[in-house]
């Protein structure tokens, strides 16, 4: 066991997979000589050379399309979105060609590609750098969407994403890169489609992902002191949703609170709520509650920014209200 920072765990995942499979390569803005804007690819350029850690011009839609073309012809590209928000500029390639092309081609082509990078609301980065594209991309058929949240799962999930024969959007969080954790020395992979039960409990199911997992756990510390026993599930897979794990939990707790960083409208929680209502309505003792970011562009001002995303105190209050008041 060795204590590792998340960005180094992600780098180790890429390094190990590049060493294992020479068709794996990285491309994106400043991934090579600069080592990545968050240093996830630091040292790989020196180790693997400029073809396998390819610095691209700032042309997101085109280099994403190129990665798809390379994937169709047998390589396994990893694209780094310097900031995942920039991939709005690659929406067409991600949607039409990464997501839909395998189907449209009647199975002629595989698209083994990972599109990864920092998403989420950081610290006063302004609206454009604080996006949560998982909500925008979730409707695209043919994509898998994964959000890592700990140093341990970041490494195991990224390795699995690189080996997956399908396009995977892999969301890291800009504020989690410096999380530290002891990681096993031996190799491990984690399944892309399984939710993680972070804390078993019986009062209420809290469904969350990415950085909000940590806000939830902060809230749980407070709640535990007053005797509450919530079950915390990290979705991990945002598409497809692990409805099996969610059902098992809801059948136990009969109450659901969703805590997410994306905006409420058309968010991951909106899809979750609908799916839970569709499949588990009879299990529910209360309507599913969503704690989401405000439906506004993320403001620059720190106070306003904090008001935009869900804070642990709101989670505490929501659990208290739902459990204690039996609503």
């Amino acid at each position: 066991m060795a204590e590792v920072l998340m960005f180094n765990a992600l780098r180790a995942a890429i390094d190990e997979e590049m060493a294992r499979d020479e068709t794996v390569f990285v491309m994106g803005e400043d991934v090579g000589q600069y080592g990545g804007s968050y240093k996830v690819t630091k040292g790989l350029y020196e180790k693997y050379g400029e073809m396998r850690v390819l610095d691209t011009p700032i042309a997101e839609n085109s280099f994403t399309g190129m990665a798809i073309g390379a994937a169709m012809t047998g390589l396994r590209p990893i694209i780094e979105g310097m900031n995942m928000g920039f991939l709005l500029l690659a929406f067409n390639q991600i949607s039409n060609n990464a997501g839909m092309l395998r189907y449209t081609s009647g199975g002629n082509f595989k698209i083994p590609i990972v599109i990864r990078g920092p998403g989420g609301v950081g610290r006063q980065l302004g609206a454009e750098h604080s996006q949560r594209l998982e909500a925008y991309f979730q409707a695209v058929p043919g994509l898998k969407i994964v959000a890592c949240s700990t140093t341990y799962n970041a490494k195991g999930l990224l390795k699995a994403a690189i080996r997956d024969p399908n396009p995977v959007l892999f969301f890291e969080h800009v504020l989690l890169y410096n999380l530290k954790e002891d990681l096993p020395d031996q190799e491990y992979l984690l399944p892309l489609d399984k939710a993680e039960i972070v804390r078993p409990g019986k009062d209420v199911t809290i469904l969350t992902y990415s950085r909000m997992r940590h806000h939830v756990l902060q809230a749980v510390k407070t709640l535990e002191k007053s005797g509450f026993d919530p079950e915390v599930i990290d979705l991990i897979s945002l598409k497809p949703l692990d409805m099996e794990a969610i059902a098992a939990s809801v059948q136990k707790t009969h109450r659901v609170i969703i805590v997410e960083e994306c905006m409420k409208t058309g968010g991951i929680g909106a899809e979750l709520t609908a799916s839970i209502n569709d499949q588990l309505f009879d299990e529910l003792d209360a309507p599913v509650l969503r704690l989401s970011s405000q439906d506004i562009p993320t403001p620059y001002n720190g106070t306003l920014e904090n008001l935009t995303i869900v804070q642990p105190t709101q989670i505490v209050e929501a659990v208290q209200k739902m459990v204690a008041l039996r609503v």
Binding site: E22, T23, F25, G49, M51, R52, T56, P57, A59, N61, S62, F63, T64, G65, M66, A67, I68, G69, A70, A71, M72, T73, G74, L75, N92, Q93, N96, N97, L101, R102, Y103, T104, S105, G106, G107, N108, F109, K110, I111, P112, P141, G142, K144, P165, N166
Partner: protein
């Protein structure tokens, strides 16, 4: 009528073509023309649906370029993709069946006219949005370079031909990919089929400098214009570009001046192009031009050409029979092909 550009005359004499090659190219062009005529007939008879964009008039470009390539080279097309697919070797049966939406189609009935694919024939698609195929093709070319340089595979010398229209040449993906292809010396041919019209938008109403091939210069790339109604001229230019790409000397931008003999799609009323303009181009039919050349050079007799036409007519009729008698996709397989295992 939009001012016509002076069609370029090939400065070097066209590479001599053998009888065998001449007839092969002629057959390919006839296949393209007859196939598209049959599509129009089938569309109006309600056998195919959606947007169907026919290639009539532009055959010299597909045949001139693709028949100058190897079967392991890559081809990337647009929504006007039937004839690129045929030239790349996708059997007419599979293309026709796809247009009929059948399970035996090259895209298993999931793609349709604008989404033809064949991994076996290295056809990367069929891309329905303007210019979105250019990055895909550039990525295939990057893959070849990667195999050669990062994986040290000396046999990786495949070339990619990327076809698109004058409309795409105003899109950012065109410029972005020209930049990267030139920067990394990728083995690719960017083939602009300048047919003067992006649906109803005349090229000179959309483009500040209408001579597209000259844009290569801004990227330090070879750029060449060619009479896109002269298959031997296209072939000569393509052979040079393919040799350059295969040798690792980088990409070429080829602007083929051509014309579509039909509307943008079969749903296009085609009201903006003048009769005068159309007549000018109809008189330059690339198939008639090649036929005249083959006979004039004593490479073929009239009866040889007629025999090819008869053979292709039979193949097209067979394709229709195949498509009509093929099964519909199995409804239980609606969700197949979303993900690879």
């Amino acid at each position: 009528m939009v001012q016509e550009r002076t069609l370029p005359v090939l400065q070097t004499s066209p590479a001599a073509i053998t009888r065998e090659e001449g007839l092969r190219v002629y057959e390919d062009m006839i296949l393209g023309r007859f196939f598209e005529d049959k599509c129009a007939e089938m569309y109006y008879r309600g056998k195919m649906f959606g947007f169907v964009h026919l290639y009539n008039g532009q055959e010299a470009v597909a045949s001139g370029v693709i028949k100058a390539m190897r079967s392991d080279d890559y081809v990337c097309s647009t929504y006007r993709d039937h004839v690129h697919a045929l030239s790349a070797g996708v059997p007419p049966n599979q293309v026709m069946a796809e247009l009929f939406g059948k399970a035996t189609g090259c895209s298993k009935g999931r793609g349709g006219s604008m989404h033809l694919f064949s991994a076996e024939h290295r056809l990367l698609g069929g891309f329905a949005f303007v210019a979105e195929g250019i990055p895909i093709a550039t990525g295939a070319a990057l893959q070849t370079k990667y195999r050669r340089e990062a994986l040290h595979d000396a046999s990786a010398d495949q070339v990619t031909a990327c076809f698109f229209g004058d409309g795409a040449s105003n899109n950012g993906q065109f410029f972005e990919c020209l930049n990267m292809a030139a920067l990394w010396k990728l083995p690719i041919l960017f083939v602009v089929e300048n047919n003067k019209w992006a649906i109803g938008m005349a090229h000179d109403r959309a483009t500040s400098d209408t001579e597209i091939y000259k844009k290569a210069k801004a990227f330090g790339m070879h750029g060449v214009e060619v009479d896109g109604m002269d298959v031997l001229a296209v072939r000569t230019v393509a052979q040079e570009a393919v040799a350059r790409a295969r040798a690792g000397e980088g990409p070429t931008l080829i602007e083929a001046l051509t014309y579509r003999f039909r509307g943008h799609s079969l749903a296009d009323p085609d009201e903006l192009r003048s009769k005068e303009e159309k007549d000018f181009w109809f008189s330059r039919d690339p198939i008639k031009k090649l036929a005249a050349y083959l006979i004039e050079q004593d490479l073929a007799k009239e009866k040889d050409l007629k025999a090819i036409e008869k053979k292709i007519q039979i193949a097209i009729d067979d394709a229709v029979t195949f498509a009509e008698s093929s099964p519909e996709p199995d409804p239980s397989e609606l969700h197949h092909y979303i993900f690879a295992d």
